[in-house]
């Protein structure tokens, strides 16, 4: 396994400037980038050579007169004003053409819903399947229809050279076609990693593969969104076949039969962004801690109080702004439609284990 801590320069072998090219846009964007880079370098090197050469060659002792006092040369000035403009037009045109391709999703693209919130991602695979990881199919044009439940976020996949802001109050769309499939790590490697940490608080950075054993591409939030902006990351996995993707989606659709509700609740707590606002050790974050929460009595912002029973927990997940705990802001997004009844029951079961 490639350990990024020990081999920080490993990626550089591929390209100094870019991450791997993993979508159909990447080559075009990199080409435009390189084109501008080479044109710029020609000018830059020319300017610096002139700068250094003049500074040395015309360095004179104090008081020696300049060799010339020419103050203008209109044809020359017109030449260097108008000449580079052609290059600028060229850059603009190639940039705009690639951009238009990136703006127009092909008809019949595979569609995935994305919800961004402080501070995490929920991908909607349809049929009630939600998961924080973005799973795609190789060579399949994919359109993301994205919304935000609080502030502006921005979905950025460097390997795809794709980025788009997600503005609350409207849907924003982006599309791309993945061209590199994610490798699967060996069964042994996966097993040993799972034995080390368990599946709940999976450390993507450490292992560089998902709990399902796939290598991944990074997906970042690129628009500043507050406290845990830098932790608002998830991963992109590209499957080789439709069957493989379908199998993965099916597996994530609901609680597997052999998993107890409270264990599933813990998985959801870690996967669905609860952990970024609610601690389980009693420390105060954006929302109340889950430790000793179930069964306790809360003072509410409107002065009344409420006992944290299953009904209140359910209401807080679906209508988080209805009964806000005193001392906290009504900032939690609603999970209505994103969690099945079984999911909510599992979370309730998990909360109960934290209050024992």
């Amino acid at each position: 396994m490639l350990d990024h801590n020990q081999l920080p320069l490993a990626d550089v072998n591929k390209s100094l400037w870019f991450p791997e090219q993993a979508s159909s846009f990447a080559e075009g964007v990199d080409w435009v980038y390189d084109t501008i880079l080479y044109i710029s370098l020609v000018f830059f090197v020319g300017i610096v050579i002139a700068l250094v050469w003049f500074a040395i060659k015309y360095h004179k002792k104090k008081g020696e007169p300049a060799e010339s006092q020419t103050s203008h040369h209109t044809p020359l000035e017109l030449l260097w004003s108008i000449g580079p403009s052609f290059l600028l037009v060229y850059m603009f045109v190639v940039g705009a053409i690639s951009y238009l391709d990136m703006r127009t999703p092909p008809e019949g693209s595979y569609e995935i819903g994305v919800e961004a919130y402080k501070w995490g991602w929920t991908m909607d695979y349809g049929g009630g399947t939600y998961h924080p990881e973005l799973h795609l199919l190789l060579d399949e044009p994919t359109k993301l229809s994205m919304r935000s439940s609080d502030v502006i976020h921005s979905l950025f996949i460097p390997a795809f050279r794709a980025k788009k802001d997600i503005v609350p109050g409207r849907y924003n769309y982006m599309w791309f076609k993945p061209t590199v499939a994610s490798e699967k790590v060996s069964v042994d490697e996966l097993a040993s990693a799972k034995k080390e940490t368990g599946t709940d608080a999976w450390d993507y950075d450490k292992y560089q593969f998902t709990p399902d054993g796939y290598r991944f591409f990074d997906l970042y939030c690129a628009e500043y969104c507050g406290k845990s902006h830098s932790e608002m990351q998830t991963v992109v996995v590209v499957h080789e076949t439709q069957e493989e993707l379908d199998a993965w989606i099916k597996e994530k659709a609901s609680r597997p039969d052999d998993v107890a509700p409270d264990a599933w609740g813990k998985t959801l707590y870690n996967q669905r962004g609860c952990a970024s606002c609610h601690s389980i050790d009693g420390s105060k974050r954006v929302g109340p801690s889950f430790k000793d929460l179930a069964g306790s009595t809360h003072a509410l912002a409107d002065g009344s109080s409420v006992t944290v029973d299953p009904n209140y927990i359910r209401e807080s997940i679906l209508e988080p702004k209805a009964k806000v705990v005193a001392g906290y802001n009504p900032v939690m997004p609603s999970y209505k439609g994103q969690l099945s009844d079984d999911d909510i029951d599992s979370i309730i079961a998990y909360l109960k284990t934290l209050a024992e």
Partner: protein, 586 residues
């Protein structure tokens, strides 16, 4: 200019007596704080903006040290005894750094500090058109600065200096106080701009036609136009933001049917032209420096002058390029991209003209010249990397990454700060009548140059490899580039410290400066160093500000002298004694 014998008709202002300059003509606390003298106001601005820069710079070092390790190194969950978590502290620190640097240093540094000191002297006037307005703009700035820093510190603002909605309308920290601070600072900026426009329009002495003005004045004039036209838009935007927070009027917050992108349009309609408030005066400074220290007539004077105005006007049309990823229509983005490219033409013209000015000149590698050469190098990188961001396809990938951070630091720090330092070193002997240690100055220029490049070059790579900006923690594969950058920042800090020490040391034990230490032909070097209270003992004779034919090196006395031109001095421009209105023509 000639190294040989001097002509017989040289004029040598020599050294002033201790009593006759603006620093010594009156004494005491009140004589400074109630002064109407533009030079003293300029000096007070200089102290203020440099103080702001030092605070902002320490915060920058904090940011860089924190990013030395992927999990964050400097700030911890119990930093300085506070129980705020480290990401929150990091977010507050970068907001504080950005807001202080933009509003309190980069925008006012050259126009307000150097501009206040230099505009009337370069023009040959006795003061600015509205000396009292000038003083009040300084006090507004002081008040705004204290209020602003106080608000930022007390509320722990974490929105970033751009106050993007809806984050800024929903966050806990008190955005209102901070935006009020920026609002007050805006007024100071408007007053200064207004004053300069009127001064340059009405107070040019006889003979000083538009095309006899030094290019620094052209740059200041163009800047002032932007200040007066764009700053009110920022004011209105910030008031709307406050109204939105207090009354939920539904302009920016989608929860009340507002549109957050509207805020971005309003904000950048000011803040993009503000980028040219930051860089245009720097162009002006560099035009002076290159010409004077090459002892050669500036090449393409008119092109440089026109390009300043062109940048000021085009600068109003390109704000949309901050929103290529926000979801504007394709047509809008393409139009903004095309317009953005137009701004690079006048900037490129200036670089070519500066190089042509050096060609066949008589170049002295003085400290200001070292900074000017450094400026051309760094600004060229800053300008060329702007092309990647103006091009749509590449901007999508690079937007909001470290590439952008590197690009605007090359323009604002590599451009504005370096030009500011070059300008300070250039005019320091004029301002305080003392020469500094040349070797120390050049050493500072070299170390600043090395440190700066080591700090920000790796950030271009970071950005194109996909590292987003404003991250308190990051993936380990970016660590080595961040570490290079942090080491660079420490070196840069040392370089800036050397510059500060060299300048302050000159006040203590520097040699007295002659009137014209560099052999310049602009008017400020025709008066003594430091200038007398009313700048000129008699009306200056206006000539071509870049004509070095009359200036000679007096090897015996080791200073530059000016041969009296055979021109008639206009008698009615001799100043009256202490006129109430210190204009040049009354």
């Amino acid at each position: 200019m000639s190294a040989g014998t001097l002509p017989s008709n040289v004029r040598d202002p020599g050294f002033p007596t201790e009593r006759e300059n603006y620093l010594t003509n009156s004494k005491g606390f009140l004589s400074w704080f109630c002064t109407l003298d533009h030079k003293r106001i300029g000096v007070m601005y200089l102290i203020g903006t440099v103080t702001a820069f030092l605070i902002g710079g320490l915060l920058a070092l904090g940011i860089r040290l924190h990013l030395f390790s992927p999990e964050g190194w400097l700030f911890t969950d119990n930093w300085l005894g506070s129980s705020v978590d480290k990401n929150t502290i990091y977010n507050q620190v970068f907001t504080l750094h950005g807001a202080i640097m933009v509003f309190l240093f980069i925008i006012p540094s050259i126009p307000a500090a150097l501009g206040n000191f230099l505009v009337p002297v370069m023009l040959g006037a006795k003061d600015v058109a509205f000396p009292r307005l000038n003083l009040s703009s300084f006090y507004l700035w002081m008040f705004g600065a204290l209020f602003f820093i106080g608000a930022l510190l007390s509320s722990g603002l974490d929105t970033g200096w751009t106050f993007y909605t809806p984050y800024s309308t929903t966050t806990d920290s008190s955005v209102i106080l901070a935006t009020l601070g920026a609002f007050i600072l805006g007024f100071s900026s408007i007053f200064t701009g207004l004053n300069f426009i009127v001064t340059i329009n009405t107070m040019r002495p006889p003979g000083m036609t538009w095309f006899k003005m030094p290019l620094f004045l052209w740059a200041t004039y163009a800047t002032s136009i932007i200040q007066v036209l764009a700053t009110p838009v920022l004011g209105i935007t910030l008031l709307l933001l406050i109204a939105e927070r207090v009354m939920q009027i539904g302009i920016f917050d989608p929860e009340f049917n507002g549109d957050p992108v509207t805020y971005q349009h309003f904000f950048w309609f000011y803040s993009h032209p503000a980028v040219y408030i930051m860089i245009l005066p720097a162009f002006g400074v560099i035009s002076e420096l290159i010409s004077v220290h090459s002892h050669k007539h500036i090449f393409g004077y008119r092109f440089i002058a026109y390009s300043s105005i062109a940048i000021a006007l085009l600068g109003f049309l390109v704000w949309g390029h901050h929103m290529f990823t926000a979801g504007m229509s394709s047509l809008t983005t393409i139009i903004f991209s095309a317009l953005t490219f137009t701004v690079s033409v006048p900037s490129a013209i200036k670089v070519f003209n500066w190089l042509a000015t050096m060609y066949k000149g008589s170049i002295s590698l003085t400290t200001p010249m070292c900074y000017a050469l450094s400026f051309i190098f760094l600004f060229t990188i800053g300008g060329l990397t702007g092309l990647f961001l103006g091009t749509l396809a590449t901007d999508l990938h690079l937007h909001d990454t470290y590439f952008v951070v590197a690009h605007f630091h090359y323009v604002m720090v590599g451009g504005t700060l370096i030009a500011f330092l070059g300008g300070v070193f250039h005019w320091w002997p004029k301002m305080f009548g003392r020469l500094y240690n040349e070797w120390g100055g050049r050493l500072s220029a070299a170390i600043v140059f090395i440190g700066f490049n080591l700090t920000f070059l790796p950030q271009f790579v970071l950005g194109s490899r996909g590292m987003p900006r404003r991250y308190a923690t990051y993936d380990p594969e970016f660590a080595y580039l961040h570490q290079m950058s942090t080491i660079g920042a420490l070196i840069l800090g040392i370089g800036l410290l050397i510059a500060l020490v060299v300048l302050i040391a000159s006040l203590v034990n520097g040699k007295r400066s002659p009137a014209n230490p560099w052999g310049a032909a602009t008017l400020e070097f025709a008066c003594t160093s430091p200038p007398p209270y009313y700048n000129f003992e008699r009306a200056p004779v206006v000539g071509d500000p870049y004509d070095f034919h009359d200036i000679f090196w007096d090897a015996e006395n080791e200073r530059y002298v000016t041969a009296e031109p055979e021109r008639e001095i206009v008698p009615q421009t001799v100043p009256e004694e202490s006129p109430a209105h210190a204009g040049g023509q009354n």
